[in-house]
Amino acid sequence: MPSKKPRVAIVSLTSCEGCQFALFDLGEKFLNFLKRVKIEEFRLIEDEIGIEEEIKKNKSVPKDKIQYDFSFVEGSPITEEDLKILKELRIRSKKLIVLGNCAALGGIPEIKNYQNKEKTIRYVYKNLEGIANPEIKEIDNFVKVDLTIPGCPIDGEEFLRIANDLLVGKLVKIPQRPVCYECQLKEYECLLQKKELCLGPIILGGCQAICLKSKMSCFGCRGILAGAKSEKLLNLIKKQRSKEDLEETLEIFGIKDELEDVLGRDRE
């Protein structure tokens, strides 16, 4: 018997779909990946009945029936439908992997959590009926997450490395090193030393320090590095600029809430 190909689902909730396009942008490499798996769900390449239609028709699967070995999901659960798809996806999947900053950390849509979100929606819409405006929460608040591939957007090459490991049964964690590690290795100019607001020392690397390569500060789209000495960096930054400035920058990619502890201590 030939070994069966792993069944894969790639699904997006409300998002820019940039993480899915990051896969497409791998070109031939991505097509080769597709050959190694059986794609069960990927609405950018197939127009067959999928999870979205089944949910509309209330077709849920029995709880013990695994349909996908690996599912990858990007975006934020904003609509009720998003949430249903996410929960159903979890039930159907052996392993659920989240893609990107929105799914992992709330992303750009989470900025409204730090505002008066009723005011935020009223600026955009006159008629609020039927328009979901939940507090934005990371996907692991709703379902169990087995692995996170971070970034805004994800790095396609990193996806391939992780996905190829998954296919041979390895669940590999991303090396816990800060963005500065790669930045220094590549000898990019240190923006912190130039007194720019850069979060590199406390942010999970693996992005090849792509922003620093272009002289753009790290705003933390890959999330806080486990065990990072956040307090030290934030104190340093606070000496150079206003607290407001710092906090607003932390809001952009949804990491302010991850640092509540450190920021809160200061508020007392």
Partner: protein, 418 residues
């Protein structure tokens, strides 16, 4: 009779379709948006001006360059900044790369299978290996441009208010056109494939709106023009637009003159085809269509022609840039109050960003009008006219035709909602 399509795959974002028909008359034909509201405009209020190009790029993973550049242009106008010619050339190159990138995905992977009755790209790839390679090569040309100039394919890094944080080296620029012959051959392979397609017959007159210019195929700059004689500044156009939001609708209807209108590749060709680059123009003329073309299926051909045009355009810009000595020409930013509109041609049509800033450079007001929001009512009108042609078909075949029709528009729901 009721027609319901729960979910339309192979478009950017999530939407369905419903229609009801009584005695052969279409009573309702509606695209049902299934995307959550990200509230980008609301989120931006009160924030620092320089965040807008970064945040709005995240509206769409398929045209982040367009959002980024449109925000930059609007903010620069508000702050009274005039960028250098070099900056404009680099931005045009980025935008050309984005259009090639987006069109080649839509054409080959999203829309083309409809014309061969294939429901899965994997079947398309198997059946057309040579053409798949060609499509990937073209995409690769586009993505490499965006990456080299913008620092990354999705969500640009280098572009900022006043100019560029980092400039490409001469070598990097020349690298982009090292395999130009191959890219060019690939474009011809694809255009041959598209010539084989039999375009469904369908016509409905409408207004085609796009940027227009007296000297070039406008995409980064220009006045708002149409096939019906419209000529107005982007600022005025944006101010005169009425955005109507009905209950339960996350996409606002865009009303300019009381009639629906179309934007995007077919609009640009209808308005500006005389400025197409040489080869693109020749191939377009081979289609032997009288301008303006009112058959929306030609939007697909228009995209194919634009791929060729923008490959030629990219080559021209790269040739010029690689002969220049690029230097840091960033303009200094002096924060002040101001308000302005910026417009560019995104892959799917004219994109408008408006910002008003307070004297600390915080955003007081902001409005984003996306191409899909502009053409959504035109699409629905078209569908009303198109549905009677497919009513006698078996249900699954009918749905397939409707989806193919919608996909020819290349809607981007993520943009439309934003």
């Amino acid at each position: 009779m009721k027609i319901r399509i729960d979910h339309i795959a192979k478009i950017e974002g999530h939407a369905g379709f419903v229609a009801s028909i009584l005695d052969g008359n279409v009573r309702k034909a509606k695209i049902e948006i299934q995307e959550g509201a990200k509230l980008i405009e609301g989120i931006l209020i009160g924030r620092r001006f320089w965040e807008a190009p970064i945040i709005t790029a995240r509206i769409c993973g398929l045209c982040p360059v367009a959002h980024n550049l449109t925000a930059l242009k609007a903010l620069e106008a508000a702050l009274g900044i005039k960028v250098s010619n070099q900056t404009i050339m680099l931005r045009k190159l980025m935008l050309a790369g984005q259009i090639i990138h987006s069109h080649s995905l839509h054409l080959f992977f999203l829309s083309l299978p409809d014309f061969f009755n294939l429901e899965n790209d994997l079947k398309l790839i198997k059946k057309y290996p040579k053409e798949t390679k060609a499509a990937l090569r073209i995409r690769n040309f586009g993505t490499k441009i965006i990456k080299t100039i913008g620092g990354r394919i999705i969500h640009p890094i280098t572009s900022e208010i006043g100019g560029f944080k980092k400039l490409p080296s001469k070598n990097e620029l020349l690298n982009l056109i090292r395999n130009y012959e191959e890219v060019w051959d690939s474009a011809l392979i694809l255009s041959k494939l598209f010539k084989k397609i039999k375009c469904p017959k369908f016509e409905r007159k409408t207004e085609y709106i796009s940027l227009g210019s007296k000297k070039e195929y406008a995409f980064y700059d220009g006045a708002i023009t149409s096939n019906q004689g419209l000529k107005i500044s982007p600022e005025k156009f944006e101010q005169n637009i009425k955005e109507i939001q009905k209950p339960y609708q996350v996409v606002k209807e865009v009303d300019y003159s009381g009639k629906t209108f179309m934007v995007g590749a077919l609009s640009r060709i209808n308005n500006n085809y005389q400025f197409l680059n040489q080869e693109a123009k020749k191939i377009w003329e081979d289609f032997n269509q009288k301008i303006p073309v009112y058959n929306i299926f030609y939007n697909i051909f228009a995209q194919a022609i634009e791929i060729i045009h923008f490959i030629e355009e990219s080559k021209k810009i790269i040739d010029r840039l690689s002969k220049m000595k690029l230097k840091d020409e960033r303009k200094r930013i002096k924060i002040k109050t101001g308000r302005s509109t910026g417009a560019t041609e995104a892959p799917r049509g004219t994109l408008y960003h408006f910002y008003s800033l307070d004297r600390e450079g915080r955003i007081l007001d902001c409005n984003i009008i996306t191409p899909t929001a502009q053409f959504l009512t035109n699409l629905e009108e078209d569908l009303r006219a198109y549905l009677p042609n497919v009513l006698s078909l078996p249900s699954s075949e009918r749905k397939r035709k409707i989806k193919a029709f919608i996909r020819a528009y290349d809607p981007c729901i993520s943009c439309a909602v934003h």
